[in-house]
């Protein structure tokens, strides 16, 4: 409880502590705090920026999606129209083709019929000739017809 030289010692210690604190403790702490403050501010700004960007992106995405919707419905409409056209076209083509095929078939049939007729005619004529041959064979008598044949051959020879 007495005032003594401790007073001086403590005053010196006090100033040394203050000096040390001012020189080596305070500046790095403040620097760190400032740095962190700047970093946090930066982070917050970045966050805000990100949020804004996200909002923009959302708007843009909405635009893109609605555009895509419109385009898709356009495409579907167009496709429907085109499909109708194609069906019509195919139908026409098919009809044409069918007509062509039918015509060809008819022509072929006619041809077939004609050729069949020809063949028939030939066969019939051959048959007739054969029959005639048979008849002639049985009818012909060399003696009887000698004059006739001679006649013919003489005619041929004169010609």
């Amino acid at each position: 409880m007495n005032i003594n030289a401790t007073l001086i010692g403590q005053t010196i210690a006090f100033f040394i502590f203050v000096w040390f604190c001012m020189k080596y403790v305070w500046p790095p702490l403040m620097a760190a705090l400032e740095e962190r403050k700047a970093k946090i501010a930066e982070g917050l700004a970045a966050g805000e920026r990100g949020q804004k960007e996200q909002e923009l992106a959302e708007v843009r995405a909405k635009d893109v999606i609605s555009g895509a919707h419109a385009e898709a419905s356009d495409i579907i409409n167009l496709a429907n129209v085109r499909a109708g056209e194609m069906i019509e076209e195919a139908k026409g083509k098919a009809r044409e083709e069918a007509a062509k095929v039918k015509k060809g078939a008819e022509a072929e049939i006619e041809q077939e019929v004609a050729s069949a007729r020809e063949v028939l005619r030939e066969q019939v004529s051959a048959l007739a000739i054969a029959a005639a041959e048979q008849i002639i064979k049985s009818e012909i008598d060399a003696t009887k017809h000698k004059t006739l044949i001679d006649n013919v051959s003489s005619q041929l020879g004169s010609a």
């Binding site: 409880m1 007495n2 005032i3 003594n4 030289a5 401790t6 007073l7 001086i8 010692g9 403590q10 005053t11 210690a13 006090f14 100033f15 502590f17 203050v18 040390f20 604190c21 001012m22 080596y24 403790v25 305070w26 790095p28 702490l29 403040m30 620097a31 760190a32 705090l33 740095e35 962190r36 970093k39």
Partner: protein, 274 residues
């Protein structure tokens, strides 16, 4: 209780005696036994306990804060760093609130004052007998563990602040300006001696009030702890626990008051007249 053979007044006296080293009246140097012997040593004696504990605590403060300051700092702060930065920000805010000029000394000064006083006051919360008893075991007869209950300690800091007040007053306003501030207010110039007397009293009352406020609070607190420690064992905790809890407030409050008044006084020293 240390020593059942002591009477209670001896016990209290023992607890309130510093470990003083100085010259005995007979010319030999040594440790004073009892406060009367310490008084006889006159001014040139040292309270070794106050010096040692306060310097240990001050070094602890600087070590911890220096460690936090040099640790990697930019990322997410760890526990210690977080705590240190919280204290630093608190002090920095207090300085910014009440100190309007620019001076790189004020904030570190306030931090040192605040943390150092908190640490020294906190020694009060260590049960009153622990450290003195340990000291007795190793042969230290007297040990007052709370440096702020030694007026030497509080007056030393207050005088340090007083030096700074005078130094900055003269530095900012010039010797003439400082003298004018002391002599020409609050009354007109022809009442100069009276002004001077008033202003000098108010100037000197600053460190004295600083020192005595802290000393008085801590001394009274310590005294009550000692008185509680003399109660029978069963009753002690019923009183010492609430008092200790209340004392946590005082520990920090007194440090804060000392710091804030230091800032305010130095702020006044920096401002041009009234």
């Amino acid at each position: 209780m240390s020593g059942e053979n002591l009477t209670s007044s001896e016990y209290i006296k023992h607890h309130l005696t510093n470990l003083t080293y100085g010259q005995h009246p007979d010319g030999s140097w040594g440790i004073a036994h009892g406060s009367e012997a310490a008084k006889e040593m006159g001014f040139w004696a040292l309270n070794i306990d106050t010096l040692a504990i306060s310097i240990i605590l001050g070094s602890l403060f600087l070590y911890v804060f220096k460690k936090a300051a040099t640790a990697p700092t930019t990322g997410v702060p760890s526990g210690l760093q977080n705590f240190v930065e919280m204290v630093v920000e608190f002090v920095d805010d207090s300085v910014k609130d009440s100190f309007n000029s620019r001076n790189p000394l004020i904030a570190p000064l306030s931090l040192t004052i605040f943390v150092w006083i908190v640490l020294m006051n906190t020694m009060d919360l260590v049960p009153v007998d622990y450290i003195p008893h340990l000291g007795q075991m190793v042969g230290i007869p007297y040990l007052k563990v709370v440096p702020t209950t030694d007026p030497n300690m509080t007056f030393a800091m207050a005088i340090g602040v007083f030096f700074l007040i005078v130094f900055y007053s003269i530095k900012v306003k010039g010797p003439g300006g400082f003298f004018a501030e002391l002599a020409f207010h609050p009354f007109p110039k022809f009442l100069m001696p009276f002004n001077l007397f008033l202003e000098l009293v108010s100037l000197i009352s600053k460190p004295i009030s600083l020192a005595l406020r802290l000393f008085g609070n801590m001394y009274a607190g310590e005294m009550i702890f000692i008185l509680i420690a003399m109660l029978p064992l069963g009753a002690q905790w019923a009183l010492s626990v609430p008092w200790a809890i209340f004392h946590i407030l005082i520990v920090i409050l007194q440090a804060f008051i000392f710091m804030t008044l230091t800032i305010v006084y130095l702020s006044m020293a920096h401002e041009e007249s009234h």
